[in-house]
Amino acid sequence: MRSSSKSLWIDAFNRLKKNKASMVSLGIIIVLCFIALFARQISPYPFDEQHMDAILQPPSARFWLGTDSLGRDLLSRVIYGARMSMAVGILTAFISLILGTIYGVISGWFGGRVDALLMRALDIITSIPTLVLMILVKVIFDSVQLFENPELRALTSILLALSLVGWVSLARVVRGQVLQVKEMTFVEAARALGASQFWTVIKHVLPNILGPIIVLLSFQIPSNILFESFLSFIGLGLQPPFSSWGVLASEGAKSIRSYPHVIISPGVALFIAMLAFQFLGDGLRDALDPKMKGSV
């Protein structure tokens, strides 16, 4: 049993390995994660250090990507932007994973009236357009400050806003999967052998629905990064001096005519990251759950 379930994952990984675009993307994403983790060590200057003698400089030997309107080094800001954007993307995906899985499992496992009620609630939440809901939640969390540290403060409300919206689609998928899996004979067998409900779900149901969840997560990370930059761009997300790719793009958009380099570097970074996540997601979907091909 164990060896066969293991080889299932090895199979999937082998399928993924054959997909060149996905493997290159995986490499890019790992590099981006390293950059994000070691931003402090890699970046040539602190992200908010101003060089008053060099304002809006084009790329040069001193500032590889140039400087912005306050004389801050753009390379450092893009690197710190990677840190913020990746953190938002990955953390929100995990928060929504936890919320969505719990909700979906409860709804699917218990079924009946519980299921009907919980799904009704989801329907109402999904009747509010994503961006609108996100902005509303963000505003509400902005006014309730949990932390003293300004960086954490800036991060928490956007994290909460994004994950409180993101878990909904996960909950739907998890519920659907649980509904299918719980009718299968191995679940029945586990129950017949006297396994508790909790144990059955953890040990037998969850491992069997992991595939679609991983695929969905791999698509949620880039969309969260994108949503964060959207919010920052319209001035409702992170605020300068903090740096994310959306914040940088928003600053760059103000002076595109005379200083296009300010928007180009964060734009290219964001584009590469989005493309990498997309190809990785496509590869994961083909490897783990080919049935989903037409729907995501």
């Binding site: 509010i128 509303l136 930059s229 793009a249 958009a253 584009f271 493309l275 037409g294």
Partner: protein, 382 residues
């Protein structure tokens, strides 16, 4: 009927004639959607070119679409379903309105907090004017009472202007922008996807998918500035902002439409590839049907369902205006109002716009659900 002119061979019409007559009727009926479609496209083209659309044409469009919709709903026995869904929609909107109202009021800080605090008497006067000093439940019931009469309140920021007023002024602009982008998305995305799939693994397929992948990876706040740099500053062909005429529409519509075009193309391609391998397509081909007929009639209709699922939320999001694009191109649409109302804490405006957005989404989803039945008659709605 048609026998008078034809020398009758026998009293009863021959089977051939009957078939032919039925065929003619069917062909005439088949022309109706085409006629309506061309009329709609004509209207869209007129409005895009910046001409004033005569009221009669608008009414004709509206009545035709509504008539077709009604015939469709009734002929497929969906009337009850539609009413049920509309009732649910009212309930949903009521819950959304209540939740948003309560959350906004519970939130610390008020709409009239300024960096420099207002004198307490002034603040008290303002709060009295907007009924903000009453107990929460009184405010809530007052709000609901207004809502049931279709009154959304008065904006805090634009003093003396009703929220309904502001929305009615801004929504058509966003609607226009969204409508053109949506048309672009369907007219470009679906054929692109079908074409790429029919030339699977060819150079064209790779090129189309490269474009589509880049399109989904490029956020609109990058596309907008790039287009502005190219078409406004380098080539000097198009204006960079505002919403005053056809030449002003092109860039925002392209920016807003690019991502949907790319996503729809990808979705269509994936599903067409799936359907193309199925047995009934092999049958259709082996019957000797022309490749074009197979592709556009048999394959396409069966592979559009996931596209349809995606279109509901997409249409609602796009029609209600993109916040980013209205900001970049300085378009006086409803998205801009929403973002501003949030920053200003203009509660009635936030509530009003949220309700309008939610209504559009609910409506779009209903229409999509009804269309499922057309694309796949096996689907039963209840």
């Amino acid at each position: 009927m048609s026998q008078q002119g034809v020398p009758a061979m026998s009293k009863t019409p021959s089977i051939d004639e009957e078939v032919w007559e039925q065929d003619l009727k069917e062909r005439l009926f088949a022309k109706i959607p085409l006629f309506i479609f061309s009329l709609l496209m004509f209207t869209v083209a007129l409005s895009f070119m910046g001409y004033e659309i005569p009221d009669a044409l608008l009414w004709a469009d509206f009545l035709l679409v509504f008539g077709v919709f009604t015939v469709y709903v009734v002929s497929r026995h969906l009337t009850l379903y539609v009413f049920k869904r509309l009732g649910e929609a009212v309930l949903t909107l009521f819950i959304i309105a209540s939740l948003t109202f309560l959350l906004l009021r519970i939130m610390p800080g008020g709409p009239f907090d300024r960096d420099k605090a207002l004198p307490p008497e002034v603040l008290a006067n303002i709060e009295a004017k907007y009924n903000l000093n009453a107990p929460l439940y009184v405010q809530y019931f007052d709000y609901l009472k207004g809502l049931s009469r279709g009154y959304l309140g008065e904006s805090y920021k634009y003093i003396g202007r009703g929220v309904t007023d502001i929305i009615m002024e801004a929504l058509p602009v966003s609607f226009q922008l969204g409508f053109y982008s949506l048309i672009l998305a369907f007219l470009l995305g679906i054929p692109l996807g079908v074409f790429a799939a029919s030339k699977h693994n060819s150079r064209f397929d790779y090129f189309a998918m490269f474009l589509a992948n880049s399109g989904t990876a490029l956020p609109s706040f990058l596309v907008g500035p790039i287009l502005i740099i190219i078409f406004c500053f380098w080539l000097n062909w198009l204006p960079a902002a505002f919403w005053d005429g056809p030449e002003y529409y092109i860039l925002p519509v392209l920016t807003l439409g690019l991502r949907p075009v790319a996503v729809i193309a990808r979705l269509t391609r994936a599903n067409v590839l799936d359907v193309i391998r199925s047995d009934y397509i092999r049958t259709a081909r082996s019957k000797g049907l022309a490749e074009k007929v197979v592709l556009y009639k048999h394959v396409l209709k069966n592979s559009l369902i996931p596209v349809l699922t995606f279109s509901g939320p997409l249409a609602a999001a796009i029609l209600s205006g993109s916040f980013v694009i209205e900001l970049i191109f300085n378009i006086p649409g409803i998205g801009k109002h929403f973002v501003e109302s949030v920053t200003n804490r203009d509660y009635p405006l936030i509530l009003g716009v949220t309700l309008v957005f939610s209504f559009l989404l609910v409506l779009a989803n209903l229409i999509v659900d009804l269309l499922y039945v057309y694309f796949d008659p096996r689907i039963k709605l209840s």
